[in-house]
């Protein structure tokens, strides 16, 4: 297996609330990544086709109407859109990890999930990760994932996993990803922000040092000895639907995509305020040095004292079902 890889984050705006328009644009971005020679491309949190940037700023009543808009532009996994995305990934020879609003595939349900879709460049839909616990008012918009969403996927470039936004602050979930054997980690976010005194009061600010993304992904890389490809939203003002301009007071989409190595150092510093593919060349061999010094799965662990319980079944209306296929651990 080649150890030199070219990985990148798609810091591009979707066509907000527009499923067909977003699909068309996404295929173009994947083609562009192919021309750049990327092995892996990561799109931001619920890039397909809306993040609720109005959350926290509109009444709960109004948010209900907007949930319906999110439903209308969401995709199913698998579905027509994932088929087209997988075909594009195959044509461009780029593995893709894509944040989306996922409409429940359970007949009768219209619940949305905050989901990452994993597509291999062999044209296969590898699976999905649903955010386990939406953050604060996000709970109004999205359901919760379960144990079947704690997954790492075998790609030709290694074992690739992903977490969504504040999942990076969930101690046990980070540990679970390491236990599943993750080698390359995809981190997705709605943007980049400044924090003042407490986490509820965020404002968009390119390059803000108070943003919790930077310590989270750098620590993630050190703790789990992985590379991190971090993908953040950038939403040019012209792409905001006119009806939402006043309500999107929580618009944090100023970019901030970046790439970190297993020593926790930036291979590519965060990039702000432009639609672009943020990419870098990485050498998987760098994991060896990190693991030689600190291996959370081996010589630095005390599994005799501390071990992690990870459910081996998923919840369904008719009871727990064993988790089949995909993933490790």
């Amino acid at each position: 297996m080649a150890t030199m890889l070219r990985v990148g984050a798609a810091q591009v705006a979707p066509k907000f609330f527009d499923r067909a328009g977003t699909l068309k644009k996404t295929i173009g971005v994947i083609e562009e990544a192919g021309r750049l020679g990327l092995d892996l491309l990561v799109f931001p949190e619920t890039y397909f086709a809306a993040y609720p940037y109005w959350r926290g700023a509109v009444s709960v009543r109004r948010s209900t109407e907007l949930i319906v808009e999110m439903q209308r532009s969401a995709i199913r996994v698998p579905g027509e859109e994932t088929e087209e995305l997988a075909a594009a990934a195959r044509r461009a020879r780029v593995n893709c990890v894509i944040g989306c609003n996922e409409l429940d595939d359970r007949p009768g349900s219209l619940t949305l999930y905050n989901t990452l879709v994993f597509v291999g460049r062999d044209g296969r839909l590898l699976g999905r990760h649903r955010k386990l616990m939406p953050t604060h008012s996000e709970r109004v918009y999205w359901g919760m994932g379960d144990a079947s969403d704690i997954r790492v996927f075998d790609m030709d470039i290694g074992r690739v996993g992903g977490l969504i936004c504040y999942e990076h602050h969930m101690t046990l979930l980070r540990a679970a990803m390491a236990i599943k054997g993750e080698e390359i980690h995809c981190a997705v976010w709605p943007g980049w922000w400044a924090v003042e005194r407490h986490l509820g009061a965020k404002r968009p600010e390119p390059g803000a040092r108070s943003c919790d993304i930077e310590p989270a992904i750098r620590e993630y890389a050190i703790e789990n000895q992985t590379f991190v490809v971090s993908s953040s939203w950038y939403l040019p003002p012209g792409e905001i639907p006119p009806a939402l301009v006043d309500e999107m007071q929580y618009n944090l989409a100023v970019g901030g995509s970046c790439i970190v190595n297993p020593a926790g150092l930036f291979v590519r510093e965060p990039v702000f305020q432009e639609e672009t593919i943020v990419w870098a060349d990485i050498d998987l061999e760098e994991r060896r040095l990190a693991k030689a010094y600190f291996d959370c799965l081996g010589h630095y662990a005390r599994f005799d004292l501390l071990s992690l319980n990870i459910r081996s079944d998923a919840w369904t209306p008719t009871g727990p079902k064993p988790i089949e296929g995909g993933g490790h651990g």
Binding site: R55, G56, A57, V58, V60, R139, V140, G200, N309
Partner: protein, 353 residues
């Protein structure tokens, strides 16, 4: 006494004693009565509401604690069972709350509690969710008693879990909504209470809250919020019989009132003849429910027994089972005898530490 734990507990205790004097053997209070329902979640932006959350945590109830001691004393004074909704403070986290119904026995003991399994919609910003360990029906002198909070009364599987444990008296409690609200809460509560009564062939005691003028004053600090709050409440407080009919109440819209009713548990039998979903009207070979009793805990601590001290004897396990079955009903003397046999069944003396 909105967002004031001590004053609300005092008020609840006074009401329990008053209901006791009125002959009540069961007293039910609204959802999260102590120290009140976070109506602000429907009035303002989430970020603007965070200061209220801090106040709510500060005035929430520790279980057990001084507030539950006081409520227990009032239950004893009234010789009544009490089901009361509280905001319960988490013991593991300084910023975590549960939406909990406490159940007190007439001797003042805390008989049990139920944590709401899934907060509804914007309530998810306030409360963590409960688990199956509290989805229980309690054997009491006034019948088998169960309770669900608010929207849980529309969760068919949660309702069936109580019905299938032989529930005879069900307490459903609710907050109030503004009178002009698009949600017709009064109608909704009556429909679902009647449905539960009819399906379970049980009595349903419903307690709903009010939005008092003082609460409107406190919550309505902008014209928009005052518009949303309107000038009245809608809720439902009353008692329904196992045929689904309202047999007491409902209370008037905006006046505080204790609704009294008399129930006859024997009336359940006649209803069950026709339609018993916990028994002869079901097909458990085709459909049955799985209830996960495991408490949700952040850590599972394990400690191996010292060598020679493993509890492996069948007699020890038999006695432990008996203790569990009879813990709620055995007399102190019987309990003492059981514990003594249990100890006697263990291997002799522990090795020196």
């Amino acid at each position: 006494m909105y967002l004031n734990r001590a004053a609300t507990v005092d008020k609840a205790c006074d009401l329990i004693r008053e209901a006791g004097r009125g002959g009540a053997q069961l007293v039910a209070f609204p959802e999260v009565f102590v120290p009140g329902f976070p109506h602000w979640i429907y009035l303002d932006r989430p970020q603007a509401n965070e200061r209220h959350f801090v106040e709510l945590v500060r005035e929430a109830v520790e279980v057990p604690g001084p507030a539950t001691d006081a409520l227990g004393r009032a239950a004893r004074d009234a010789s009544a069972y009490v089901v009361i909704g509280i905001n319960e403070r988490s013991r593991r986290s300084a910023g975590e709350l549960f939406n909990t119904n406490l159940i007190f026995a007439p001797d003042g003991a805390l008989l049990g509690w139920h944590r709401k399994l899934m907060p509804t919609y914007a309530e998810k910003m306030i409360w963590s969710f409960g688990d199956g360990s509290t989805l229980r029906v309690h054997d009491t002198a006034i019948g088998r008693l169960g309770t669900l909070c608010c929207g849980e009364n529309t969760n068919p599987l949660a309702r069936f879990a109580l019905i299938a444990q032989g529930e005879q008296v069900h307490v459903a409690n609710y907050p109030a909504r503004p009178a002009g609200d698009a949600v017709d809460l009064r109608y909704n509560i009556q429909i679902r209470s009647a449905a539960h009564a009819f399906e379970g062939k049980c009595f349903v005691v419903v307690a709903g809250s009010l939005i008092s003028p003082e609460m409107r004053e406190f919550l309505g600090d902008t014209p928009e919020k005052r518009r949303l709050l309107g000038d009245g409440s809608q809720t439902f407080t009353g008692i329904l019989g196992p045929n689904g009919k309202v047999l007491a109440g409902p209370a008037a819209d905006d006046a505080e009132e204790i609704v009294y009713g008399t129930i006859d548990l024997e009336a359940i039998i006649g209803q069950k003849i026709h339609h018993d979903v916990a028994g002869n009207y079901n097909r458990f070979d085709v459909l049955s429910l799985t209830l996960n009793r495991s408490p949700l805990t952040a850590i599972r601590e394990v400690m191996a027994a010292p060598a020679g001290m493993e509890i492996t004897g069948p007699e020890t396990w038999r006695l432990l089972g008996e203790l569990r079955r009879r813990a709620g009903s055995a007399s102190p003397e019987e309990l003492r005898a059981l514990v003594e046999s249990l100890l006697a069944s263990l291997p002799a003396g522990p090795p020196d530490a």
